[in-house]
């Protein structure tokens, strides 16, 4: 298998990219100074992929909400026991997660990498679903859903997404509901698996104390080439405007939790430039050095939970300001005021210089752990960027770029506030 080395001198970092004959893209970052290794085997399939058809089919299959996550749980099982039992023989620490646009199976270990890697490659490629095991899982996932229902962070997020999006499936809870997961059966799981778990739609990431050639040789041994699957997810029309500008609910929390979101247009993934510029703007506006942050903190409007982030993935992107406040409306008014002021008066070049420094330093910290590198490569696998592209972008970024982005991306007419209030 051919591998390409990608290197960055300033960062003193390098990694390989290879394309297996099955179509699987493989990323490997050798880190011999570390004692551990980390591997992620993932598919570009998540909770948003809930209506799809394969080449040759005319109708879309609409699957129950939460099925990608359910599949993740069930994939650990095989006819002769579960993958955790196999990992128990290697000492690796294994896990998996399902997000909006991907499902990833991973492990980290400091010994017996080969054995663990073989387990990972094997169980992800070998589904085994029966009605009986599906039923048992409904109880366990039902409990997991209850746990999320009690999490104010989760509730305030999905309430915000439901304010922002009419039809985009990002508004659907990743784990589904007790009602939707009750509709899941073995046939549906196989249908999703056979559609989305083909190696052309998947990626493999390995970082840490490994040798690239050895990893690739193992891939050759364990990867099974299958027929490529062409899949189309059902298109939907997402209006420009938000659904509503405000929603609230009540839960046992100590004080109101809020998210104020601004909807962005997004087809596929936002460009790296767009993302980086928005992130830098968010640091400028709401970072701990900013006037806005410090004024609100001193006045008692926010606490250390306050933060702003770009929430994005395949076909969705929004800016989220979140935190706890006795008066979320007042916080939103202040952010809007600061945005308007910044748009009008322009961005301070000196502040930009400082924030860019911070951004560079924090970016550098990504490379402090094999998990950090592996997760960053996972993002690259999904959105098609290179791991060091951001370093080059940062060097070339100008105040004018940022000002232009501020004027287009931060549109308060496309925003919504979600609040979780304490119970009366």
């Amino acid at each position: 298998m051919q591998k390409t080395l990608i290197r960055n001198e300033r960062l003193q970092e390098a990694y390989y990219v290879a394309k297996h004959e099955s179509g699987l893209t493989i990323y490997i970052c050798e880190k011999p100074a570390f004692s551990g290794a980390y591997a992620v085997f993932g598919t570009k399939y998540g909770s948003v992929d809930n209506a799809f058809r394969r080449r040759g089919e005319t109708d879309y299959t609409v699957v129950p909400e939460g099925i990608a996550h359910f599949l993740e749980h069930k994939l650990f099982e095989s006819e002769d026991g579960d993958a955790f039992a196999r990992y128990a023989k290697t000492g690796a620490s294994a896990n998996a997660y399902t997000s909006f646009d991907r499902t990833c199976y991973l492990f980290s270990c400091s010994e017996n990498f080969d054995d663990s890697f073989a387990i990972l490659l094997d169980f992800v490629q070998h589904p085994y679903f029966t009605e009986q095991t599906v039923q048992k899982e409904q109880g366990i996932i039902g409990q997991e859903i209850s746990m999320y229902d009690d999490s104010p962070d989760w509730v305030v997020l999905f309430q915000a997404l439901n304010c922002l999006y009419h039809n985009n499936p990002v508004r659907i809870n990743i784990a589904g509901t007790a009602k939707t997961i009750a509709q899941i059966n073995a046939d549906l799981l196989y249908r999703c698996y056979n559609t989305f778990y083909n190696l052309q739609n998947m990626f493999l990431v390995v970082s840490g104390r490994v040798e690239a050639d050895h990893v690739l040789a193992m891939c050759d041994r364990y990867l099974q080439t299958t027929e490529p699957v062409a899949v189309q997810t059902r298109p939907y029309n997402e209006p420009h405007d938000v659904v509503c500008s405000y929603k609230e609910c009540a839960m046992p929390v100590s004080m109101p939790q809020f998210i104020w979101g601004i909807k962005l247009d997004c087809e596929g993934y936002l460009s790296l430039r767009e993302r980086t510029e928005i992130n830098i703007l968010l640091s400028l506006l709401t970072g701990q050095q900013s006037a806005l942050y410090n004024e609100m903190l001193e006045e008692g409007l926010i606490n250390k939970e306050f933060g702003a982030s770009l929430f994005e993935g395949r076909n969705f992107a929004c800016i989220l300001f979140s935190g706890e406040s006795r008066d979320p409306q007042a916080v939103v008014a202040r952010i809007q005021q600061a945005l308007a002021q910044c748009k009008q008066q322009g961005i301070d070049a000196q502040e930009v210089e400082l924030v860019l420094r911070q951004y560079y330093g924090r970016y550098m910290m990504t490379f402090n752990s094999v998990e950090g590198i592996g997760d960053a490569l996972t993002d690259c696998a999904c959105d098609g960027t290179g791991l060091y592209d951001e370093a080059d972008l940062l060097q070339a970024m100008t105040v004018q770029d940022l000002q232009a982005r501020l004027n287009t991306a931060f549109d308060p007419t496309r925003s919504a506030l979600s609040v979780v209030n304490p119970l009366q």
Binding site: G91, I140, N368
Partner: protein, 426 residues
């Protein structure tokens, strides 16, 4: 460069800890003070911890501090208070990018070290006390943090259980203090507390990364040369307090999922002896996916989403917590106790013991892959009789026998049960 650990004594009860390694992009430096834990000191330490990172003499406003950190390429500067048995550790740290990556040849590590020391030794004071305006903000933030315990039901239930189980021990006191004590603390009291901390607390200075620790150590020595030190070493005596009867409590809340937390005591404390058998027992009982609580109570009985056990080594506590439906609480409790009995009876095989050994060894080996994990490893062992290096620890894992584990399981006695129940809709 293989990570190498060195310990040096810088002064009476001031210890330097170095891990030299070039695998990271950053250098981490921290100062940790060991302080007694009681109702008042919990509140004072939490407020002091906030005040020290809020502003300093040289950078007297939060904005000034934060701008300095940006200039240091986004150095992470923070403080925290950690509970360790009946003590609390006030830990101030800075993690900064190594000089070799600086874009303009700055001496980042040196500057960051000076900044950290100044935050601890030269805080922002007015007439010798912490300013009222600073304190007002920190007090509000601390109270909001304390109130927010309610938001995470899992943590809330565990904390409730321990405050019941240890109502007569410092360990039962919440880190962060209670609201009335935080409310009442004055800038003067906190200044006295701070001076007293510098004078009496045992100190650990950790320097982790590729840079030479010597300049940091000598700067620390110089700083302490100006302090009239009379250190108070910690009391590492262990008192075993077996429960006369199981304490039970419950609370009803508007939640979807109930929580069941069970507190157990043992007479095995790392302040006195090695606890590797108990650690393995806890791991096989409920510490991993191959454990009894995971495979039986969660997977076979389908009673809960999570059901796990963890150990507090110095106090010899074992805590099991789980998320369950109201109707399953009794069954889960019985299931957990049955599995404990199975541990005592030796109902586990060599394969699960080997799984546990591998997993514990793997976890210990991975400690050197993170600066934070290395620091946490050493801090967690400050009160232990045998403060192991990861390598020594790994060697001891191999020596534990099945009988040792059964014996450790027999030492585990139920003390307190706390249930958080979902309100039933009529």
């Amino acid at each position: 460069m293989t990570p190498t650990t060195t310990r040096v004594q810088l002064a009476d009860h001031i210890n330097g800890l170095t891990v030299r390694t070039d695998q990271f992009k950053t250098q981490r430096i921290s100062l940790t003070f060991m302080l007694p834990l009681n109702r008042e000191s919990a509140a004072l330490a939490s407020l002091l911890s906030r005040l020290l990172v809020r502003s300093t003499k040289q950078y007297p406003t939060p904005t000034a501090v934060q701008r300095k950190l940006l200039a240091l390429y986004g150095a992470r500067f923070s403080s925290q208070v950690i509970k360790l048995a009946d003590y609390q550790l006030l830990n101030c740290s800075i993690t900064v990018m190594n000089d070799r990556f600086a874009l303009h040849g700055e001496k980042l590590v040196q500057e960051a070290a000076a900044f950290l020391l100044a935050s601890v030794f030269d805080p922002h004071l007015e007439e010798g006390v912490f300013p009222a305006a600073d304190l007002a903000v920190c007090r509000r933030l601390q109270i909001e943090t304390l109130e927010s315990t309610l938001n995470d039901k899992r943590k809330y239930a565990i904390s409730k259980m321990f405050s019941l189980m240890c109502e007569n021990e410092p360990f039962g006191i919440e880190i962060g203090g209670d609201i009335p004590t935080v409310q009442a603390a004055t800038g003067e009291q906190i200044a006295v507390y701070w001076r007293n901390m510098l004078a009496t607390a045992p100190v650990t200075v950790a320097v982790i990364g590729q840079e030479d620790p010597a300049p940091v150590f000598s700067a620390v020595q110089n700083r302490f040369a100006g302090v009239d030190r009379h250190p108070c070493p910690p009391d590492t005596a262990f008192v075993y307090r077996p429960a006369a009867a199981v304490r039970e409590a419950e609370e009803v809340m508007d939640v979807a999922q109930g929580k069941l937390v069970m507190g157990f005591r043992t007479n095995i404390s790392t302040m006195q002896q090695d606890n590797m058998a108990l650690r393995m027992m806890c791991d096989i009982f409920g510490g991993a996916p191959y454990s009894k609580l995971f495979t039986v109570v969660r997977e076979q009985m389908s009673l809960c989403y999570y059901c796990a056990s963890r150990l507090q080594s110095q106090k010899g506590f074992l805590c099991v917590d789980s998320g369950v439906d109201n109707r399953n609480i009794e069954a889960a409790r019985q299931g957990i106790l049955d599995q404990l009995e199975a541990m005592r009876q030796g109902d586990f095989d060599e394969a699960v013991m080997e799984a546990s050994r591998l997993s514990l060894i793997d976890a210990a080996r991975s400690v050197t892959d993170s600066q934070e994990a290395m620091e946490a490893w050493y801090l967690a062992r400050l009160l232990d009789r045998n403060a192991d290096e990861p390598d020594q620890w790994i060697r001891r894992v191999a020596q534990v026998s099945k009988q040792d584990i059964q014996q450790a399981a027999r030492a585990v006695t139920l003390d307190t049960v706390f249930a958080l129940k979902a309100r039933e809709v009529a």
